[in-house]
């Protein structure tokens, strides 16, 4: 009998279609898994048991009645807490939104609901998606199921760990500088940042509007493609949404054909600064693609040297403005200043923002406010926009020589919790390989490349494609996955330690259950 918690979304969909299981059975199995392991992993900020089961039952009834359903109907999903969900708390990992229950659904969430996927809960994240480890979540970090002392990546560490700990087969993510791809890399899962504008941003609590992009997270390339297809497409509520057909991504994932494809290795994103085991798995993966019929070229993108600096001017600038709305006036936390009788609105705003935002958020608001201020704008924000153009130009010329570009997703495997929390620059460097795609608006994917020899932890293989050519990611990702599964004798996650064997018998102290359900 299939372990419903380990099956892929595609397999679960087949099982339901064949009448061998029901959405209720699957949903119940996953909720039980969460009860067993999430005390240790802390993927969720909020679990919606009743809502998930109600959706599951509704789908089961419709299926029994012979209705035509979406391919993924009845397959449960976890939603990153950056997305608004009617009736479910949405905190974005921040104290300032504690207890806020949105009155509307993000477009992505509305599509998930319309397709009949039970929403299991809201996953943990770095506060306002600022971070690479979930350590900046106001509700405590998530843990990497490969090693609970290590980070699950960020900001989407809740979504990556929920997949790697078999609490859900699908999850949503958002990627501003790598928040889907880097968590996928360090947990041995798959994640795609679509072309900017490919998936609606409506209802995503904005970090940096020109960089944010929602995308799919799963354990297989095909599942990722199926979820991507569900999420994607034009949305009139998002002015930056692309009004064009979604590329044939599911078909590309099924065909897994890279014959004749030119794979470009980006010189600036390999070698020095990358962990030996990560580099080794990357080199082997490239060889597998060559074996599958692809051709390798080396390309150079000299402006990438400035990508991190550019990113850390544009992101904080936009974030400082996007986060201005959290002012205690209409929703969320409201804190009265100490020792002030009859405080003014401005004093309440200041006290609330002081109490409600964490250090990393404050750091970036200050950076962005500075970069945009009069007299500095041209030197900082203005220059950054020019470099951004150069980075896009580098990609354009690289894509003249190659159909896709590849690199390791992150320079290292998962680092230990606490290792970089006091060194923001070291933390930022984790995103060195993922950031250029966000600056240029092109799509990127991370697929597992294996375990690094020195620490036995997962490494990720990043694939980048030109804007609107997301299907190429899936062709390459699926081809690599096929070859590696053959080598490994099954998915990489088959090798993950058994959490129930190694986890502490008592749940770890996590404040999330209380912290996020108040006022719900």
């Amino acid at each position: 009998m299939t372990d419903l918690t380990r099956a892929s979304a595609a397999e679960l969909a087949d099982l339901m279609a064949r009448g061998e299981t029901t959405s209720r059975e699957i949903t119940t199995a996953l909720l039980e898994r969460t009860e067993a392991v999430d005390g240790a992993v802390h993927s969720y900020l909020h679990v919606d048991r009743d809502g998930a089961l109600a959706t599951a039952d509704a789908v089961d009834r419709r299926r029994a009645a012979g209705e035509t359903l979406h391919a993924l109907a009845g397959v449960p999903i976890a939603v990153k807490d950056v997305m608004t969900t009617t009736g479910l708390p949405t905190t974005c990992g921040s104290r300032i939104l504690q207890g806020w229950v949105p009155p509307y659904d993000a477009t992505v969430v509305a599509r998930i609901k319309a397709a009949g996927l039970p929403i299991l809960g809201k996953t943990n994240m770095d506060e306002f998606a600022m971070g690479s480890s979930t350590e900046h979540s106001a509700y405590g970090p998530s843990h990497n199921p490969w090693d609970l002392d290590r980070i699950p990546g960020g900001s989407g560490g809740g979504s990556s760990s929920v997949l790697a700990s078999f609490q859900a087969p699908l999850a949503t993510g958002t990627d501003t500088g790598g928040s889907i791809r880097q968590p996928a890399a360090v947990t041995g899962t798959v994640g795609t940042k679509p072309t900017y504008g490919g998936v609606s941003r409506y209802g995503l609590i904005a970090l940096a509007s020109s960089l944010d992009q929602a995308g799919p997270c799963a354990r297989t390339v095909l599942d990722t493609a199926m979820l991507h297809e569900l999420m994607a497409g034009h949305d009139p509520l998002d002015s930056t949404s692309i009004d064009a057909p979604v590329p044939p991504i599911v078909e590309a994932a099924r065909r897994a054909d890279v014959r004749g494809m030119r794979i470009g290795i980006v010189r600036e994103l390999t070698g020095e600064g990358f962990q030996a085991g990560v580099q080794q798995r990357f080199d082997e993966a490239v060889q597998h693609l060559v074996d599958a019929g692809a051709e390798v070229v080396e390309v150079s993108c000299p402006s990438f040297t400035y990508a991190l600096a550019t990113y850390y001017l544009i992101l904080p600038s936009e974030a400082s403005s996007n986060l201005a709305k959290f002012d205690a006036m209409r929703y969320g936390l409201r804190v009265a200043p100490r020792d002030v009788d009859d405080p003014s609105a401005e004093q309440v705003m200041a006290a609330t923002r002081d109490a409600g935002f964490g250090d990393e958020v404050k750091r970036r608001i200050i950076l962005g406010t500075y970069a945009l201020s009069s007299g500095y704008y041209d030197a900082y924000y203005g220059s950054a926009q020019k470099v951004r153009r150069l980075i896009a130009d580098d990609f354009a010329s690289a894509f003249e020589r190659a159909d896709v570009l590849v690199s390791p997703t992150a320079p290292t495997t998962a680092f230990r919790l606490g290792a970089k929390i006091d060194d923001p620059l070291a933390m930022y460097l984790n995103d060195i390989a993922t950031i250029p795609a966000n600056l240029a608006g092109i799509p990127g994917m991370s697929v597992p490349s294996g375990l690094a020899d020195e620490d036995g932890l997962p490494a990720g293989f990043q694939i980048l494609a030109p804007a609107m050519a997301d299907d190429r990611l899936y062709a390459v990702g699926a081809a690599l996955e096929q070859r590696l599964h053959a080598v490994w004798g099954g998915p990489l996650l088959d090798r993950i330690p058994d959490l129930l064997a190694s986890a502490p018998t008592t749940p770890m102290a996590t404040p999330h259950a209380d912290a996020t359900t108040k006022g719900a």
């Binding site: 997305m83 939104l97 009155p103 509307y104 930056t240 945009l372």
Partner: protein, 508 residues
């Protein structure tokens, strides 16, 4: 306001002797679109607070703006009507500052890439000259919510115990129209300011893009003013006076600030660059927040919206929809109607031109149209605090009634005094002019025998006057006509009476 707030003022003529004024006018116009600038919420004025709101205009986390196409179209038409260039590529920008009635704590506006720029508007001044006001730019933005400060004596934030915020207005489309510095107006500066705003109001009304009601805040004016030593050509430090919400106030505020600046400068002081508030009741300005370099809006291009690049053929299509410029139309109609300058001014001041034009179109004569729309109805509208068009519309009285009334006169059924009575009846809601005339028994006495009897009696009773007329002093006939009318209890035909008197006295 307490007396302590009153500042020293210099005499207006003294100001002009020593200084040249420079003006800058910023006018905000609320567009009359059905929905808001960036969401689908309704824009009805006066709705219950916070009933016309949604995640977008409340600035809820995750919500995104979508541009109102009619808003853009209106902005382009306004730009074209102001003789501006229309940008081939234009972007929105965020203007960042914290204020409780601004949901996102930034205003979506335009900064260095406005939709329209570099135009002009010619305005007619009281002295008959035409003054050209150069337009710097016209750009699109959204309105803020509205704060109501409760518990204080004055409704101001100081002294209030709490504030209520109505977000219905948040996100209403605004066009901000900014002039270049207006120099060289000299003593006419207050007149130029008033005439500019009045002309702009007429233009926007003719475009049909806004109801331009200054009293309801759908058109708001900020007045920038500075003085420079006469002939120096160097712009002085300016103040920005807000809340100037009537044409008369615009004129008064300019004059007041000129006199206030003059007093400060003449005493060796310097002008503080600041925002000032205009007080309609007392006719003075008071200091608002200080506008210093510290106020930094950190503008940057709005990343949630895509640039606007209006196609040239669309712009030309919109140009073809522009109405005749109001000034040109006024000149054309004045000539066509043969109104004197004085008559025309009265017609314009009372806002009657549209009604008169409609009445003429419906078959009335320009003279009768002007006469009937400016007399009794104007008095009543004024007493009711309304303008004539809306007052008449409220009564259901329009051009058709005036045409009917005029026909009753020209057909000889009513004389002028009777027509006035009939018109009063119409305004009293007694029905059409004919119905009122019937009900009140208004009918000229067309019995020639009765007229002859009355005329002969009056001539007999006034031999001296009759003698004068016989001697050629024809103008004396008026006195006799009056008496004939009296004899006939107002129902005589004055023209017939005149003809008969003159004939009897050998002057016909």
């Amino acid at each position: 306001m307490s007396a302590g707030d009153t500042e020293a003022l210099m005499g207006y003529d003294d100001v002009l002797a020593a200084y040249d004024p420079a003006l800058g006018l910023e006018v905000h116009v609320e567009l009359g679109t059905n929905t808001k600038m960036f969401c689908g919420c309704a824009t009805t004025f006066g709705a219950e607070p916070n009933t016309q709101v949604c995640p977008v205009c409340l600035g809820l986390p995750g919500a995104l703006p979508v541009v109102n196409a009619i808003g853009v179209e209106s902005a382009i038409r306004i730009g074209l009507a102001l003789n501006c260039e229309i940008a081939t590529w234009s972007r929105f920008a965020r203007k960042n500052y914290f204020y409780p009635d601004m949901p996102k704590n930034f205003q979506t506006s335009q900064y260095d890439e406005p939709i329209a720029f570099g135009g002009h508007l010619d305005v007619d001044l009281e002295d008959g000259t035409v003054f050209r006001v150069e337009i710097e730019r016209a750009h699109m933005e959204e309105d803020t919510g509205k704060s109501l400060h409760v518990g204080g004596a004055t409704g101001r934030i100081h002294g209030a115990t709490h504030s209520l915020v109505d977000y219905n207005r948040a996100g209403i489309p605004l066009i901000e129209i900014v002039t270049k510095p207006i120099v060289g107006a000299g003593e006419r500066a207050p007149d130029v300011a008033r005439a500019y705003v009045a002309t702009l109001r007429d233009l926007l009304k003719a475009l049909g893009v806004s109801d331009v009601k200054m009293e309801q805040g759908s058109m708001r004016c900020d007045v920038n003013l500075s003085l420079s030593p006469k002939g120096s050509g160097v712009l002085g430090t300016r103040t920005e006076t807000k809340n100037v919400n009537s044409l008369r106030s615009v004129e008064r505020a300019v004059r007041y600030e000129m006199c206030r600046h003059g007093a400060i400068l003449a005493s060796g002081g310097s002008i503080l660059q600041e925002t000032r508030h205009w007080h309609e009741d007392t006719g003075i300005t008071t200091s608002g927040r200080e506008k210093s370099d510290a106020e930094d809006y950190r503008y940057f291009p709005e990343p949630d919206l895509v640039p606007i690049a209006p196609a040239r053929d669309w712009v030309e299509e919109l140009r073809a929809t522009l109405p005749e410029p109001p000034a040109q139309r006024r000149k054309r109609l004045q000539a066509a109607y043969s109104y004197s300058d004085l008559e025309m001014r009265d017609v314009l001041n009372a806002g009657l031109l549209d009604l008169i034009e409609e009445t003429v179109t419906a078959g009335g004569s320009p003279a009768a149209a002007r006469k009937w729309w400016s007399g009794e109805v104007a008095r009543r509208a004024n007493a009711d605090g309304q303008d004539v068009p809306s007052y008449a519309a409220g009564l259901g009285v329009g051009p058709a009634q005036v045409v009917e009334l005029e026909t009753l006169v020209t057909s000889g059924r009513l004389n002028d005094a009777m027509a006035r009575q009939a018109w009063e009846g119409v305004l009293d809601g007694e029905g059409s002019p004919t119905a009122v005339a019937d009900a009140r028994g208004l009918q000229l006495n067309q019995d020639s025998g009765a007229l002859e009897t009355a005329v002969d009696a009056v001539i007999a009773a006034n031999p001296e006057v009759a003698e004068k007329i016989r001697d050629g002093k024809v103008q004396a006939v008026g006195a006799l006509i009056g008496q004939v009318m009296k004899e006939m209890r107002g129902q005589g035909d004055a023209a017939a009476a005149r003809a008969l008197i003159l004939s009897r006295l050998g002057q016909a």
